[in-house]
Structures are given as C-alpha cells and as structure tokens.
Amino acid sequence: MDLSSINPTLLLASLIVASTPILLAALGELVVERAGVLNLGVEGMMITGAICGFAIAVNTGSPFVGFIAAAMGGALLALLFGVLTQFALANQVASGLALTLFGLGLSALLGQGYQGIKPPPTNSLDIPFLSDLPILGPILFSHDLMVYLALALVAAVWFVLNRTRAGLILRAVGENHGAAHALGYKVIRIRIMAILFGGACAGLGGAYLSLVRVPQWTEGMTAGSGWIALALVVFASWKAGRILLGAWLFGGISVLQLNLQAAGVAIPVEYLSMSPYLITILVLVIMSADKSRAPGSLGRTFHASD
C-alpha cells in the first residue's frame, strides 16, 4: 500500500469534475419533480445533450455554443415528454422510459460520424492570483465555467424554490395540482416550463460528459448516469443542498475508490467498487430521517376537469 501516491489536490479537483454531470441532471429533475412530474427520461435527455453539444461544439469550434445546443437539445426532447404527458395525458412512467429509449437511439443516429473526433477544449478559467494559490488554486479556482455554473445553479434553484413567489407556486402545483388550479395557476404551463428546465439541465450534464469529462463521443456513453441522477433526487429528499452533497459524495467516492485501487490499498476491490453507491445512499437516507417526503402530486396526471 502506498497512499502517498495519491495526490489529494488532484483527487479533489477530479472529484468536482466527476460529480458535475449528475449534479446538473439531478438539479433539473429536482425542479421537475417539485412541480409534480416524474420524468424518467433523464438518461435519454442526457445522452441527447451529449451528442448535440458535441456535434455543435465540433462544428462551430466553440464549446460554449455546444453547451447552449446541448441545453436546447435536452429541452427539445423534454418538450416531447411534456406534450405527451401534459396535453395527451399519457402515463408519465411509460413516457419517461420511452424517452430514455428514444434518446439513446436518436443520439446514436445523430452521432454517426462523430466517433474518434476530438472536441475543442473547454478552457479552465485562469483567474489571476486565485488560480495560482497553492492547493486551493487547483481545487477551487481552476475549473471550467460549467463547474461554477452548476454550483451557482444549486444556489439559484434553492433560492427560487424556497424564497420566491415563483418557487412557491411551482411547489404548490407539485403538492396539490387541484388546489393550485382552483387558485387560478396554470398547472400545465408551469409544469411544461419545469420539464423544459429539467431537459436543459440534463442536456448540459450530458454535454459536460462528452465535452469535458471524457471528452469524446461514444454511443451510450452516459452509461447510467441519468439513473444515478434520478435516484439522487429521491435520496436527497427533493432538496437542492442535499443534491449537491449527494453528487459530491457519489462523484468523490467513485474517484477515491479508483485511486485507492491504483494505490493498492488492502481493502477488497469489491467493497471499494460498491462504496460510492452504498455510502451515498446511507448518508442521504440517514439525513432524510426528518419529515421530508415526495411532492404530493408527483407522477399524477392532471386535467382541469378533475
């Protein structure tokens, strides 16, 4: 065993990179679920975002434009889900699963010809002075813009949901859509907007995979990240702060266990391998011992005649 070969600075830096995709996707799904909609299509929206972002970034040479395209791609796919579930009143679980299958197929189709291409590099911010700080510089101040955007989004989602009137309305729609409707709120319109936001976030998360974390396009490259994000929302009891904690825990332990393996730590590999799932669930379940519960109208179909 040689723990000295693990560099904690590099470890913490890669922790943040590893957790950003699921953080983005889970944040989006959080807003969707707080509005009372269960969209199981996160994986499909992520992978669609991954290829949209990749293709546009390669063609324009700008990762920034790529990320915008990824958000739009994810949102567009989510709109399909929104139309199906909010206007056609289709079953949300079935539509979400279908969305995942559709997204995987669509992305494979769009991705023809993009294998083995190198995306334009997403530059890390180089903040004068701060980025050069020893230890803190590489951990906190040398990431790309998306990392900070994701963190800012956590704060923004928390603030909007808990401290603004818009957030109150969104939560009301999610808790009891009948009552919200009776009060004159446009349940469907609010939900469609939440679904679009969720799709855009998932798309950004996917593009972060294909443009920064891997960085390349491979079919099926999300490999289940969307499902992890979905689970994270539940275990985080639909709270933005806990999603950040969960994403860091999961991303952090995933990276840590790989590093421990490489360092030859005397813990059986099987335990290391399952540790990210186990520890994340344990911590979040213990934290959710308070009275947190799912939004009251989660997954229920709404029609004004009800």
């Binding site: 070969s5 294998q115 891997v214 960085p215 099926g220 289940g224 393996q261």
Partner: protein
C-alpha cells in the same frame, strides 16, 4: 377461374414462395454487450457481422441486439433471438456463458457460439482469441517507453482472460525494464466511458505514463491524450488516436471465423468446437506501431510478433513463478492451454491482489 379465386391462389402461391425464400436464408444473430459504436470490442464483432452479410449476400440474414446486460436479461434476449428463427447465434461476451448454455438446452436445433467462455454443449461452441499474444507485444513496448516506470492497467472483471492479459503484459514489460511497476484498477464494467476515463485519470494522477486498457470504449484514449501519456488500442485499432496517445493496438478480427461458422451451418457440417486462435491465423492482429515508438523498439516488437506467429515463441515461457513465489514453469517450459484458460493467479512481481 374467377378473378377472386385467381387472386386468392396467387396470394397463397406468393405466400408459399415467401416462406420458402425465408427458409432458404440462414439467419444469424449476434448479442452484443455494448453499443456497436463503442469503437472497440463490440464494434469489431459488428464488423464481423457485416463481413458475413457481404460474403453471403442474399443467402443470409443477420440480426443483432446491442447493449445487452450480462446476467438475467441476457437469457431473455438470446431466447427472443432464437424464437425469431435464428439458425446460429453468437453471444459475444464472457458474462453470457450460463445464459447461452441455458437457452441452448431449450433450442436444440439452433447453433450457439459463445465468445471467450469455456462451457460447451452439443449445440454450443466456444471461440476466443489469444489476446495475450498481443498483450506480450504491448508489454514489451510499454516497458521500453515508460519513463516513470509506472504502467496503469484498466481491468474489467477478474476473469481468466483479463488476468492472462495482465500477466502477459507484465512479464514482457518486466523483461525489458526490471524497475517497472503495474498499477491495476478494476472497474467492473466492460463499457462505461466516464468510469473508464476516471480510471485512466486516477492512474495518470498516480504517476502512470502508459495506459493499458481491457475495457471496450475509447474513453481511456481520450484521457491519455489529454494528459500526454501513451496508450494502446484495445479490441479495435482505435487508429483515430494515433500516432499519440495510441502507439499500437490489438485488433480482433472475427470476420473469417464468423464466415466459416455460418458456412458450416449452411452446409450442415456445424459441430460443437473450441476455437482459440492467435496472431498466426490472423484472429489477433497488431495495429500499426506508430512513429512515436523508437525504431529499434518497433523492430523488436515486430520480431516478437513474427516469432509468436511462427510458433517459435510462446509468451508464457519459463522460468516463471507465481505471485506467491512458488514455481510455475521451469526454464524453457511453455504454459499449457488448460492453465491459461483457467488462469486465476498473478505472476511473480505484480504487487496487487486479484479480487476474489
């Protein structure tokens, strides 16, 4: 004959002809563990499928299902393919072994071919390639090229095939560079690009300047490129990452085997066999060694390839000890296939432990 009756009989005749045509066609099915666009393992199997289509033209129909998880769902996917009328089914991942055997017992008239496994039945053959021959050459190049003397190895599952590859690479890296050290990460997946990339990054962070992978995607290549270290293509050439980071590769060429087996089914000569071919018959190919490799190292590597192909050199030739120091192969002794197929130990010098 009235018009209706004429039409009706025409339809029946056409229908019969259609069935007859369908029966003439040999239907060949493929079960893949990853997407056909993974750029590695599954991609090469799919190239083999396309070669079958091209070779037989109208006489054959191929079907495939991609991203089939190893485990319970595999049995469902294979059963479904058999029910769809496949005459020959290739299941192309180690983890499909029991599922293949189970389904085969229910469909005695369908022929099954399982890649990299060791269980056979009257209608189940196994086939694999001697990837370790390619690993030996990679190990040689890696041992010569590393400056930090740390070689990172991304391993998938602790099965004999993967362990064999680690041993073959280690033996030949060590032979040319006594100071070399292997760091091994088990990712417990064949295909998970983000995880493969993270594993490569972890190895690089810990000083590895050569990355060997036994997973299916090109993600480690991208990570190696980003960090400026070298890597090797796995299962497929991955030439899009040449000349750097990818300096060479192991290419699986399944096409001749798939064509031969399909032919055997057509001729009715198919029998349950165990095939394990290497560089000599062309099932394992060594991808172009790029100019990033010094000329003398390239010459040595190609010489080793020639000797292996000629049967003059076996990558597992004694003296070799097992990891615990017990003797395995005496001087000049060559490992037998049985030991290699069931390999569950590291050779002496590797410091890691095999997960149980």
């Amino acid at each position: 004959m009235s018009l209706t009756r004429f039409l009706a009989s025409a339809v029946v005749a056409l229908g019969l002809a259609g069935t007859a045509l369908a029966e003439d066609k040999t239907k060949v099915g493929f079960i893949y563990v990853g997407p056909v666009g993974d750029g590695g393992w599954t991609y090469e199997h799919d190239q083999g499928r396309l070669a079958v289509e091209e070779h037989f033209g109208d006489k054959v129909e191929t079907v495939f299902q991609e991203s089939v998880p190893e485990g319970a769902d595999a049995e469902r996917a294979i059963t479904q393919m058999a029910l769809q009328g496949a005459d020959l089914i290739f299941t192309t991942s180690f983890g499909y072994m029991d599922a293949t055997i189970n389904v085969a017992s229910k469909f005695p008239d369908v022929k099954f071919e399982h890649a990299t496994g060791f269980k056979t039945a009257d209608n189940v053959s196994v086939y694999s390639a001697r990837f370790y021959e390619g690993r030996a050459i990679q190990g040689h190049i890696a041992g010569k090229m590393t400056k930090s003397n740390v070689i990172g190895y991304i391993a998938s599952f602790p099965i004999p095939e993967v362990i064999r590859g680690i041993n073959a690479a280690y033996i030949h890296a060590k032979a040319v560079n006594p100071d070399v050290e292997f760091k091994i990460i088990w990712v417990y997946t064949w295909f998970d690009p983000p995880k493969e990339a993270d594993a490569a990054t972890a190895l690089i962070d810990q000083g590895a300047d050569v990355i060997l992978q036994h997973t299916d995607s090109t993600a480690p290549q991208a990570a190696a490129e980003k960090a400026g270290v070298i890597s090797f293509g796995q299962a497929s050439d991955m030439a899009e990452y040449a000349p750097l980071p990818r300096v060479s590769s192991i290419i699986d060429n399944w096409a001749p085997y798939y064509i031969a087996r399909t032919q055997a089914v057509m001729d009715g000569t198919w029998e349950s066999t165990e095939t394990w071919d290497g560089i000599a018959p062309g099932m394992v190919e060594i991808g172009e060694i790029s100019d990033a490799v010094p000329a003398d190292v390239k010459t040595e590597a190609l010489e080793m390839k020639r000797l292996i192909a000629a049967g003059e050199y076996h990558p597992f030739t004694g003296p070799l000890n097992k990891q615990d120091g017990t003797a395995w192969l005496a001087d000049g002794e060559v490992a037998d296939d049985g030991t290699l197929l069931g390999m569950d130990f590291y050779v002496e010098g590797i410091t890691a432990e095999i997960p149980k």
